[in-house]
């Protein structure tokens, strides 16, 4: 294998990885504010894409109208989920919170498919699929677009978390009680983070929907997203970005070699291995706080 090829695998892996980061940012936002691991993020992603399609395909609106509309709707869906389901569980054992988000995941998926049916649809963002060569390396335009969105979101959130509202959200993630004591509405803050995560879900859903079509399989991104989030540290957005790149490269380059040995399909294995090893060796991930729960 020559170097150009290795470089191409690496770059394309990193770009794909950034698309995982996109997903993981949604997880991080919620975990950061409320320490809830949101297993329903996959279903939210899928729902986000379906809502965009409902506006663009079913109602015939152009995408640049459909996406903002979906963003607004999903923002309130996210807030609603937090308010109805999660708020009551504050302070309950993590098993119940996990099960709750799993229940929400199953519910959202069932409802989405009951409304729109299971056959795959496509989002057309108008990104060209003509080959794009950089030197001898072939890059994917849509992946570049997606990676740019991920990085743009990262910058946006970086700035947001330095704004006054963002600082208040960070305060909530630091200390509930202290936040309450200085008049920060923790409920509203956590709700806001769910709303933001749902907006991220729309972005993720549209980009992944363009790449692989909109159907049930969008929710399967969850395992990769979780792995990226855990590797990055669960409460760190920069962590999600870096971990996404790492996982993407590991997957792309690693599976190239491993597939030969194990006879294919080693990508899932790599993801599972990264998840297990991270938890075993460094549960707080690359950028997570050290005080994260462990034995």
């Amino acid at each position: 294998m020559d170097l150009v090829f290795l470089a191409e695998l690496t770059v394309n892996g990193a770009l794909t990885g950034l698309l995982y980061s996109l997903f993981a940012i949604g997880l991080v936002l919620i975990y950061k504010s409320s320490s809830v691991p949101n297993l329903a993020q996959g279903a939210l992603t899928m729902l986000g894409a379906y809502v965009v399609l409902a506006f663009s395909h079913n109602m015939g609106l152009p995408l640049w109208v459909a996406i903002p509309l979906a963003v607004v709707i999903m923002f309130f869906v996210g807030i609603g989920i937090e308010k109805v389901a999660l708020r009551r569980l504050a302070g309950r054992p993590v098993i119940m919170i996990l099960m709750m988000t799993m229940g929400i995941d199953i519910f959202l998926r069932g409802t989405t498919l009951a409304i729109w049916g299971g056959s795959s649809r496509s989002v057309d963002l108008g990104v060209s699929y003509e080959p794009l060569f950089v030197g001898d390396m072939l890059l994917s335009r849509i992946h570049i677009v997606g990676a740019s969105v991920a990085l743009a979101l990262f910058v946006a959130f970086f700035l947001f978390f330095r704004s006054r509202l963002g600082i208040r959200l960070r305060a909530i993630s630091d200390d509930y009680m202290a936040s309450w004591s200085v008049g920060i509405s923790v409920e509203r803050g956590v709700g806001l983070s769910w709303g933001l995560a749902s907006i991220v879900a729309v972005a993720t859903g549209v980009i992944w929907g363009e790449i692989q079509g909109v159907d049930q399989s969008l929710s399967i991104l969850l395992l990769k997203g979780l792995t990226v989030a855990v590797l990055g540290g669960l409460d760190s957005i920069i962590g999600a970005i870096v971990a996404g790149i790492i996982l993407g490269i590991l997957e792309s380059v690693g599976s190239f070699y491993l597939d030969e040995i194990v006879g294919g399909g080693s990508r899932d294995l790599i993801v599972a291995a990264v998840l297990i090893l991270t938890v075993m060796i460094r549960p707080h991930g690359l950028f997570g706080r050290h005080d994260i729960e462990r034995v």
Binding site: F5, E8, L9, N12, G13, T16, G110, L113, G117, G118, S119, S120, R121, S122, Y129, E130, P131, L132, L138, S140, R141, I142, H143, W208, I211, Q212, G213, D215, Q216, S217, I220, S252, S255, F256, D259, G263, G264, G265, R267, D268
Partner: protein
């Protein structure tokens, strides 16, 4: 409409619990087909069309007087691709007088197999499940009418051989497959053929659910295979088409498994898909006598089982193919042994199907006690931007090789 209201009536009755059993047992003047389908999980890209086709065909047949004067009932239930629920569905319908079952899900078909064999009922297993079930001497109760994946893969190779001028030395064939039993199944036969014909076989596993193919096509671009045979499903083809474009692999050298339909074409883009090839078991398009009849008589009378747009889908044709063969078997059963139809007479009916093609819907099949596949002919069709154009006649290549594999595999199955 008969079949549909029946579904609902049945559901209503079942709520009442035990009472439904005796009630359903009384209605023995019909011929029942039980479709325990996955309508909610992995097979949703195909099951709605197939159930619709089966119901429409039943309606049409009933409008024409049914089979030997007896109406057909189609009972549809969801099992969500879960073996557990598939078995529940089987056991329940069994007691309601159903003995012809169709599971359309590999895991569930596999799960009910032992029960079907033990109860001596009939399992329609076209297009899914185990390929070796074509061996009627072992799988006496299973009817995978139509080609197996093995036969289809072999025919793809035969087509490539034909295109390469009869000599496959130096030809590279890539095989992109979903990395689980569905996609892995043809590997054995492809390896055997590669040895026999001297072409180079390159394997490209695609992890489930098939949406992540970036590295596969990067490899394809470097390996430069002449053809890529693809055992993917639904969205997988759409991703592949995009990747092909990106990697400069001509879509006309892409030969898909039969699971690629008009929805996928629309998702790829009708223009972008021009030249794409598909191995198929049934004739595509609506230009078929049986579909015209359904459109006129069933949908014309407002009795369609679903939206009329869904008819324009090769999976609808596939459903028609499965059930026209099944109804033909039932017709023969009534003709030979009279009413009521029993599992034995149904089996005999199936095994006496000769040269049946449902007016050009698929290649003529002849089912025998040993060959439950019925010939296993497929053909390659090409998308020309508007419709599917057949590239060859119905063929069944390398039948000896396939039967070797079938026999070898079926010999491992023992009926307990």
């Amino acid at each position: 409409m008969k079949t549909k209201t029946y579904v609902k009536r049945l559901a209503a009755a079942a709520v009442m619990g035990l009472t439904s059993l005796s009630a359903a047992n009384a209605a023995e003047d019909t011929i029942k087909f039980g479709m325990c389908y996955d309508l909610s999980k992995s097979y949703t890209f195909v099951t709605p069309q197939i159930t619709q086709a089966a119901q429409d065909l039943a309606t049409l047949t009933n409008m024409k007087g049914g089979i030997g004067g007896h109406e057909i009932e189609i009972i549809v239930q969801d099992h969500g691709n879960e073996p557990q629920r598939g078995i529940e569905c089987y056991e329940k319908l069994k007691r309601e007088g159903v003995f012809v079952f169709d599971m359309l899900s590999t895991p569930v078909s596999i799960a009910v197999l032992p029960r079907i064999m033990k109860d001596k009922n009939i399992l329609i297993q076209s297009l899914v499940g185990r390929g070796d079930a074509a061996d009627g001497s072992v799988f006496s109760q299973i009817f995978p009418v139509g080609p197996t994946y093995w036969g289809q893969a072999a025919n793809d190779i035969a087509y490539i051989k034909e295109q390469s001028g009869g000599d496959m030395k130096g030809v590279k064939v890539g095989f992109a497959y979903l990395d689980y039993p569905f996609g892995q199944e043809p590997i054995e036969i492809l390896k055997t053929l590669a040895e026999k014909e001297g072409f180079e076989l390159l394997l490209y596993p695609v992890p489930l659910p098939g949406s992540d193919q970036a590295s596969v096509w990067t490899k394809v671009r470097r390996d430069k295979p002449d053809y890529v045979v693809a055992w993917l499903l639904a969205g997988g083809h759409v991703v592949a088409a995009k990747e092909m474009k990106r990697n400069g692999f001509p879509i006309s050298n892409y030969i898909s498994v039969n699971w690629l339909n008009e929805v996928d074409i629309a998702n790829i883009g009708a223009e972008a898909a021009i030249g794409l090839k598909r191995g198929t078991n049934v004739a595509g398009g609506q230009d078929l006598p049986i579909i015209q009849e359904i459109l006129a008589d069933v949908y014309g009378a407002g009795k369609g089982a679903g939206p009329v747009e869904k008819i324009n889908d090769v999976y609808y044709n596939t459903g028609l193919a499965i059930y026209s063969a099944a109804f033909e078997a039932a017709r023969l059963a009534v003709e030979q042994n009279g009413f009521p139809v029993t599992p034995d007479s149904m089996k005999a009916g199936y095994e006496s199907i000769v040269d049946f093609d449902a007016n050009g819907l698929f290649a003529p099949i002849t089912v025998t006690a040993d060959d439950h596949g019925g010939g296993g002919k497929t053909r390659i069709e090409m998308w020309d931007g508007k419709t599917w154009v057949p590239q060859q006649d119905w063929t069944a290549a390398y039948t000896d090789v396939i039967w070797d594999v079938v026999k070898e595999s079926s010999s491992k199955f023992t009926v307990e």
